[in-house]
Symmetry: C2
Subunit: 272 residues, 2 copies
């Protein structure tokens, strides 16, 4: 089983991703596609007169401030637009895709980060109406049922809290959590760079291989911005039982096949 994270954040060749999935499915592989949606959510939020707001936590992480209105726009864009366009494209390629969000059948249960400690204008503030969260549980029964019946799940990055609230969750972490819960053979996180770079400004500084023991160190030394979440995702996935994770280029032709054959940054259990 292969879990692929792609789409929703711009720059990727989604057409090539879908074509690869169609070929893999035809060869009998079980594939799950997880997507994001930050970029398109920003665009549509602007148009709807509720522009995105990003905040910096006291620990220095930048994240989307998800008030209820933002959450509803995020749900609309990710589960309604990105998800359904992916499902449509896959269906056109003969893949029997089924689009779900983490709300559906409580597919992804999460813990809401209800208080967000941020730094704004040099001062600490507490935001209490944020609807983002961390995934705590994957409903594998629903995924197994769909996979067994021949469907290809396409998952939008929403989770449901214990109280039944919809939550915005990170797509890379969704892919990692699903990969771990299903003990997938491979987790592929497609990016708009070739993988983890020693110098994020220079694509020629790709780090081809990372042993599980080195990830935390590499995370500290080399990962910037979104790459941090991708690496954190791979750490979670490997801890959860995924054998191999690849952070690979999603802008190229045959992006999934390339990642499977070792292009990108390969993170494996054990040493490098």
């Amino acid at each position: 089983m292969i879990v692929v994270k792609a789409g929703g954040n711009g720059g990727l060749d989604i057409e090539a991703v879908c074509a690869d999935i169609a070929e893999l499915v035809q060869q009998g592989e079980q594939v799950i596609l997880v997507h994001g949606g930050s970029h398109e959510t920003n665009v549509i939020s602007e148009k709807l007169g509720h522009p995105p707001r990003f905040v910096t936590s006291v620990s220095g992480h930048v994240s989307r401030y998800t008030d209820r209105e933002t959450l509803e726009i995020f749900a609309m864009v990710t589960a309604g637009r990105i998800n359904k366009l992916l499902v449509e494209r896959l269906q056109q390629l003969g893949v029997n895709a089924v689009g779900l969000s983490g709300l559906d059948g409580r597919l992804l249960e999460g813990k809401r980060k209800s208080t967000l400690r941020i730094i704004e204008d040099g001062k600490q503030k507490v935001l209490r109406d944020d609807y983002s969260g961390r995934i705590e549980k994957v409903n594998t029964q629903l995924l197994h049922a769909l996979l067994a019946a021949g469907y290809v799940p396409v998952i939008a990055p929403l989770a449901i809290s214990e109280q039944g609230e919809a939550l915005n969750v990170d797509g890379d972490r969704v892919a990692a959590a699903i990969g771990a819960a299903l003990s997938a053979e491979v987790l592929i996180i497609l990016s708009n760079v070739p993988g983890l770079l020693k110098d994020f400004r220079d694509e020629k500084t790709l780090i081809p291989l990372v042993g599980q023991g080195q990830i935390e160190e590499y995370l500290e030394r080399y990962a910037q911005g979104r790459m941090k979440k991708k690496l954190l995702g791979t750490i979670e996935a490997l801890k959860g039982g995924v054998r191999k994770a690849v952070i690979a280029d999603g802008r190229v032709e045959r992006p999934i096949y390339r990642a499977l054959s070792g292009s990108g940054t390969v993170i494996t259990q054990g040493g490098p």
Copy 2:
């Protein structure tokens, strides 16, 4: 099994609809909820700078002109916003809802009405880029699998064409097609009026009972605007094997229980 059509077109007490579904599910009933989305699609289309356009066919029907951009907005609003908010609310009430559109798993296969003959400014015109359609097939296998596993399907009104194109379809007809395909006991179409009225301006003129043999006549004589589609839906549903269809008031408390106990316009197989 009960198929309920509610939501997406304003005026209904969705809170009461969800509460009834929760109670029915707790009593062991199998329920499928189908929703619409015209009203909210109009609101969001306006905000996104692509206002809705309605056209009158040569036969006098008024319908939404669904170019590709409209279709994508319609998908986003119905499958992403309305569907996920319903799923969230049902989950909060303890119902394990799963939201799907007709694209997912080819749940609803439809025929695209690719040419639309319309009358505009007194002249006939042909529109060729419309993405709306008529349902031809329901993938009952996916619905049965979800129902058997204890999930409550919540369906957004999109279908998929033979060529794999997403199509805008009418929610009332979706509910009718699903009711027929599953031979549901009851189809309940909730409306913002008490049922079929002899005089659509006077809610006291409710027609309480219609025999299958009378529907076509009543359709001609009494049904205006959207009520026509609701009645056409019930005709299709009864022909397909649904035992009873009810067009009932969705603005009241306990709307589904009231409809089940005979409030509204009851349409049955055989005579009145």
